[in-house]
Symmetry: C2
Subunit: 200 residues, 2 copies
DNA sequence: ACCTGAACACCGTTCAAGT
DNA sequence: ACCTGAACACCGTTCAAGT
């Protein structure tokens, strides 16, 4: 199926699809504009009439993946009653996303305006990030593990820990430390949520 | 002072110094081999007789900074008795390092061999990272907050949390959430170390 | 031996020319 | 209007030639 001349809607999807395939198959280093163009069946110049920069394209890809992430965790947040189990489940979903999209562009960087993103790509990413944030925040508020805590701070710490763990495990991967994702994440959850108390 | 022709020791220091200055002043994007060469008072080709790749140069810079980090936290680890205070102090030192060296090359990536680093630069970084790891590990073992915990796992979780928080705060910087580093880190420390217990 | 700097390779991006 | 693809800019890296 060849996209028709002038069908900008479909063309745009072609570009996004080509980009996603490259990212998933071989990572950010392989997301090259010439290859994206080739994958979408167009010339390099054309890509730039849809996305002003490579960064904007990447932001769009990331935003779509974030939306998928939110859709995956929303039912978990509603249904899972054990906070530890929920933490592990959300962290594991996050890990899957982080494997492909994690190391290159932080949501915070976009939110903070450090990355130039004048256009709609940035807006879409910010919206998706806000939705993810709200989902977590509402869940934290609903669970109310410790009413004295500021929920926003709880979210920051939970999110940072999950990011840090995902970063650690995607880098160290199959090597080195004999540690196990599930076990480590559950351990972190136990510490953060239930607490342990110092002995004697 | 112009480095003498053939003085490889001093020349190498010139290159490292030029690299550090570029990194600190304007970040990784400004660490360009032509500028490193100019800063060291040599031609681009010469840099490559000292460091086989830009990555190897960066690994050396990072290793030196890590050594400085270890020197800074070692006395803290020995002298600070309150685990919460220690966590905050170490995290804050880490944040300073992460501002400059954090986002580009994880120690774990080098340790895991994902980054090509055949030569001495990789070895130096691995050594520095191992020293940092051991310092933390020994401290965790000494404090023995919960004897049932596996110290290696404790270190992984502590380290991941610190990395995640540093990542969050260096990205979000002066924008957005009105949160405060000290307050947030101390909150994380309280959760991770002392624990809170669920109410009711 | 050590160093120079022009040249090569690669990749994001632009733009005059095509349909 | 939309699209092409050669060309430009930039930067990591190499190597024949200089001292």
């Amino acid at each position: 199926m060849v996209t028709k001349w002038g069908d900008r809607e479909t063309r745009r999807r072609d570009i996004v699809a080509a980009g996603q395939r490259l990212l998933i198959e071989s990572g950010y280093a392989s997301l090259q504009m010439r290859d994206v163009a080739k994958g979408a069946g167009i010339s390099p110049g054309t890509v730039y009439t849809y996305f002003p920069t490579k960064e904007a394209l990447y932001a769009t890809l990331y935003a779509e993946r974030l939306e998928e992430f939110v859709e995956k965790i929303e039912p978990l947040c509603t249904d899972t009653h054990n906070p530890e189990d929920l933490f592990v489940a959300v962290a594991t979903e996050y890990l899957e996303m982080y494997r492909v999209y994690g190391r290159e562009l932080t949501i915070w960087a976009v939110l903070g305006g450090e990355v130039e993103m004048d256009d709609q790509a940035g807006a879409q990413l910010i919206l998706a990030a806000a939705r993810a944030y709200d989902t977590i925040l509402h869940t934290v508020e609903r669970l109310r593990l410790d009413e004295a805590d500021d929920p926003a701070m709880v979210v920051t710490v939970l999110w940072s820990t999950i990011t840090g763990l995902a970063d650690h495990f995607t880098s160290v991967r199959q090597h080195l430390h004999p540690q196990n994702w599930d076990e480590t994440v559950r351990f972190a959850a136990r510490k953060l949520i239930t607490g342990t108390g110092t002995p004697g």
